[in-house]
């Protein structure tokens, strides 16, 4: 589904503090699989993930989504692909403070200009699936860690993306909540989603339900 072909990424290119975060990665991510990018911090897994999720572009190399080259597309198209294809769960959850749970979940759909009532119902239904409907009108800063995470998952799913991207999703959770999260991921895979997760948490990469573990070190794939 996603192919990376000798992807490299440099930060501060051409300046004295130039730094190559990714030094040539070739990788295939198959549809309807759970793929974990594993490695110590600074190994480049988050950078790689952000390029897969169209949040940034590689310095060189190609990224293909369903055989379509993404790396050369202009910003507008990238945003559109990102909106339609990917759902994001961030390490800090990155919920927008001051807004309610419901508003946060609906946020990725705002630029689509859908009718309000169906969108609200869809968001409430999603929240219902995660036992969050009672919290729909509370502000996100009052949520517990687990609730915040389930809100973040609902937000990632509101536009019904094919691919779910999660960056260190369990970093702020205890073991019980981390296991709960992995169970949710497994359910989503059964619903047909493709999931890509970065983590250095054993709860994640030792979880039984995952399909592929890719280990990274210093911007390269570590040979298994």
């Amino acid at each position: 589904m996603i192919e990376l072909d000798d992807v490299k990424k440099a930060f501060n290119q051409g300046r004295p503090n130039e730094f190559w975060a990714i030094r040539g990665v070739s990788l295939r991510v198959d549809a309807n699989r759970i793929t974990v990018l594993k490695g110590p911090s600074g190994s480049g897994k988050t950078t790689l993930l952000s390029m897969i999720g169209c949040l940034s572009r590689p310095t060189s190399g190609r990224i293909l989504l369903r055989s379509r080259i993404l790396s050369g597309l202009p910003e507008r198209f990238l945003t559109e692909i990102r909106r339609k294809t990917f759902g994001f769960i961030f390490q800090q959850f990155n919920l927008v403070k001051g807004l309610t749970v419901l508003e946060n979940v609906m946020l990725p759909a705002y630029p689509l200009g859908l009718d309000h009532q169906p969108l609200k119902e869809a968001a409430l239904k999603l929240l219902g699936q995660f036992n969050m409907e009672s919290k729909a009108d509370s502000k996100v800063e009052w949520l517990s860690g687990g609730e915040a995470q389930r809100t973040a998952i609902c937000r990632a799913l509101i536009n019904d993306p094919e691919i779910l991207i999660a960056d260190e999703p369990t970093a702020n959770l205890d073991t019980r909540l981390s296991r709960e999260f992995m169970a949710i991921i497994r359910d989503l895979k059964q619903q047909g989603k493709t999931v890509i997760v970065t983590s250095h948490d054993p709860v994640v990469f030792e979880y039984a339900g995952i399909d592929t573990v890719v280990e990274m070190r210093d911007g390269n794939l570590a040979e298994a």
Partner: protein, 377 residues
């Protein structure tokens, strides 16, 4: 099309939600903003309406007034000047006017004494303006006593009070008969204050004025068009201390608003990153900020203008009274006639809404073109 509108509505939803987060701060901003629009609009509405009204009612002033100047000072006009003017083509009527000022120590007010041409008043009769009636607390039938220039006490019976509706022009008027006037001030029978000339054809007024200056070198003609021009330029609302004072507060507000609108806090930057990461386009972010600027400034404009309208045209412009009144004891009580100039309102709209909106958009432009992966770092 429908999609576009729905989309803007979502953006407005988001903007309002984020404004609501810092409710006290944003309400404070709105309040100050509204206050400034209110003051600007009040000055504008008040001065414009006075200017229009002055233009309309002073259209009935005499065409030409002839003053005599002696050593650069306004002096009494000898009656023989009326004969020296003789017959000038176009002048249909000429007459001497008698008027002057009287300082009333009882209330420390200045009155304008005048001899009316259309009323026959008895020796001890006086007609007063509503402003005097209010200040002295007198009514028809009451008596007023003044000390004349040579120290005699004159007692007048108030026989009439000029229409309160016309206080804008008659507040401090005190009408007496010609005999009383001359006696009171000790002005000889062959002297007038000045001369009025009536000219039927407006195109001849300038010609007449030229002839008068040749004929009477020590006289100065004042034309009606000059009076009108004076009043037209006098309420030039951009001028004056009100605007100097306002200037300071406007500047303070501009700094405050600029800081508020243009400075993006780290939190806001992060938020923009989140929005972009979850699929908002740069243009969505900019539009959202555009709505924020427009909503705040439009609300301030609408509230400020409506309040200013009520203040000026229903509240007698009460806030300006101290400035207009100054040291004067007699101040006309009047509700300005609501002449509203659409162009002025549009100008005010433009200068209050536009800059603020731009100030909110500019910094967002810089922030929103940064890469969305910032949130992942």
């Amino acid at each position: 099309m429908k999609k576009l509108i729905l989309r803007q509505k979502y953006l407005i939803d988001f903007t309002l939600s984020s404004l609501k987060r810092r409710l006290a701060k944003n309400l404070g901003l709105l309040l100050v903003y509204t206050l400034i629009v209110f003051l600007l609009a009040s000055v504008m509405l008040f001065t414009h309406s006075l200017r229009r009204e002055a233009g309309i009612i002073l259209e009935s002033s005499p065409e030409i007034i002839l003053q005599r100047l002696v050593a650069g000072r306004h002096d009494l006009m000898p009656a023989e000047y009326l004969d020296r003017i003789g017959r000038i083509r176009g002048v249909t009527r000429k007459a001497g006017r008698l008027w002057g000022y009287f300082y009333d120590p009882a209330v420390q007010a200045n009155y304008t004494l005048m001899v009316p041409r259309d009323r026959d008043l008895g020796q001890q009769e006086v007609v007063i303006g509503a402003g005097i009636a209010r200040t002295r607390g007198v009514d028809v039938g009451d008596f007023l006593t003044f000390r004349s220039s040579d120290g005699r006490a004159f007692s007048f019976r108030v026989v009439d009070i000029l229409e309160a509706d016309a206080e804008l022009v008659n507040a401090d008027l005190l009408l007496v008969s010609e005999g009383t006037y001359r006696d009171f001030f000790g002005i000889p029978a062959d002297r007038f204050t000045d001369i009025v000339l009536q000219v039927r054809n407006p195109s001849e007024v300038r010609k007449v004025a030229e002839k008068l200056t040749v004929l009477l070198p020590d006289a100065r003609p004042i034309l009606r068009e000059e009076i009108l021009r004076t009043y037209d330029s006098i309420f030039s609302w951009r001028q004056g201390i009100v605007f100097v004072l306002l200037g300071g507060s406007i500047l303070a507000f501009v700094i405050f608003a600029w800081d508020k609108a243009s400075g993006l806090s780290a939190e806001e930057k992060r938020e923009i990153g989140i929005l972009k990461a979850i699929g908002w386009e740069t243009s969505d972010v900019i539009r959202m900020k555009f709505w924020e600027g427009s909503i705040v400034s439009l609300t301030a404009f609408l509230l400020g203008f409506i309040l200013a309208y009520l203040h000026v045209f229903y509240g007698q412009a009460a806030l300006f009274e101290p400035v207009l009144k100054g040291w004067a004891v007699i101040y006309p009580s009047f509700n300005p006639t609501p002449f509203v100039d659409g162009l002025q309102v549009a100008t005010l709209f433009f200068f209050t809404v536009f800059p603020y909106t731009v100030a909110t958009i500019i910094p967002i432009w810089q922030a929103s073109i940064t890469d969305p992966d910032a949130v992942m770092r």
